[in-house]
């Protein structure tokens, strides 16, 4: 699970009003280099839940992301490279996602978060 996917995930268990963002408790991460594509990154910025992304990055040990998207983000290569690395190059292989409201835990095994709910939670 990369942070790009994490930014889409939420806990929608019965009774939960705001199950986003899920807290990441990483056990194992790995890095895989990805080609830098400034155009794609700029395109992705407005799609991001930014503060959730920045927090998630901190949870997996990545610092250096600003709390707000810079005004000149498209031309700020240093910023884009930091964004690129956090968004696309770091995989959480093993760990847990935790619902901020209910504490419901979702395991991440072999890089795949399991978001399935039990019947009594739907």
């Amino acid at each position: 699970m990369r942070l790009l996917a994490h930014n889409m995930l939420a806990c929608n268990a019965k009774g939960v009003v705001n199950g986003f963002p899920l807290k990441i408790v990483p056990k194992e991460t790995r890095e895989v280099e990805v080609d830098f594509n400034a155009e794609f990154l700029t395109h992705m910025l407005p799609k991001m839940e930014w503060s959730a992304f920045v927090n998630a990055a901190k949870e997996i040990g990545l610092e250096g992301l600003p709390s707000e998207i810079p005004d000149d983000a498209a031309s700020d290569e240093e910023f884009l490279r930091t964004f690129h690395h956090a968004l696309l190059e770091v995989h959480v292989e093993e760990g847990t996602l935790v619902c901020p409201e209910s504490g419901r835990k979702f395991p991440i095994n072999k890089g795949i978060p399991n978001m399935l709910l039990n019947e009594d939670e739907v």
Partner: protein, 273 residues
């Protein structure tokens, strides 16, 4: 990569069969020709290269693989079945270097995995393009429409989806009235060769006509979940009744019971559940 190269790369490297196919999920392999056909349509319209693509109900991942080979910037595959995702991960690792596709185990039909899912009011628009070969709703009535809803909730560019040609008028109506599609167009009619997969399949394989649809969501359109839920529940109850009747026919030795693959199948249907 040219269309024919794509097709041969897919058939050489991707095992699109399900190790333990589950009929309730309508798991049928998407063959390389069909996957290449979907990608051919999507790529020609600029909806793949450099895009954020989501494959809903990715199964063993052939559309995700195809999108990655066609230079999608990022691909996320979502499926409710852990066994299928295990096969999918094996397929990704069969490439050298291994293909990077994000996999998520989640229920596409109820949207419970995602921000912007059924119960969530906010956000949700994330990806550029959704590619999918959804269940046709033969087992669970309305599953096709529930998948479309999920697609309309997360795509802000385009949606490519396969539906039985026999449902064309229904799909168009649902896309326009329920999901407020700005465009709904059948790009091609393809042949879906469904190999016999389940115990009730009698023929070795059955070819059905499917439409490759391209939908364009209207920015800011809101889907009325409650109204849609009622419709889906209605579809599901009608279908449940039909299924009960057909399984009774089966017990009596009748030839009903054929779903999506058509016809019952005898001893050769070894992998059926």
């Amino acid at each position: 990569m040219r269309a024919r190269q794509l097709e041969s790369a897919l058939s050489a490297n991707v095992d699109e069969t399900f190790a333990t196919p589950k009929q309730r999920l309508e798991q049928y392999p998407t063959n390389a020709a069909l996957a290449a056909g979907v990608l051919h349509g999507a790529r020609a319209r600029g909806d793949v290269e450099g895009k954020f693509v989501v494959d809903l109900g990715c199964g063993t991942g052939i559309l995700s693989v195809a999108a990655t080979l066609c230079d999608a910037a990022v691909v996320v595959g979502v499926d409710v079945d852990e066994d299928a995702l295990t096969r999918c991960a094996e397929n990704l690792r069969a490439f050298e270097p291994a293909l990077e596709v994000e996999l998520v185990c989640g229920d596409v039909i109820d949207g419970s995995w995602t921000l912007g899912g059924r119960r969530m009011g906010r956000g949700g628009k994330r990806c550029d393009t959704v590619l999918m070969n959804p269940p046709f709703g033969a087992w669970r009535g309305g599953a096709d429409v529930a998948f479309l809803r999920a697609a309309f909730k997360i795509a802000d560019g385009a949606i490519y989806s396969l539906h039985k040609t026999s449902t064309r008028a229904h799909i168009e109506k649902v896309a326009k009235t329920r999901f407020h599609a700005r465009e709904a167009e059948v790009l091609a009619q393809l042949k879906y060769d469904l190999p016999a997969t389940y115990g009730h399949h009698r023929e070795k394989s059955v070819e059905i006509a499917v439409d490759l649809w391209r939908f364009e969501p209207t920015p800011g359109a809101v889907i009325d979940d409650e109204a849609l839920e009622l419709e889906l529940a209605h579809d599901a109850s009608i279908d449940g009744l039909a299924r009960d009747l057909s399984s009774k026919a089966h017990v009596r030795g009748g030839r009903g019971g054929g779903r999506r693959g058509g016809g019952r199948r005898g001893a050769r249907g070894g992998r059926g559940k």
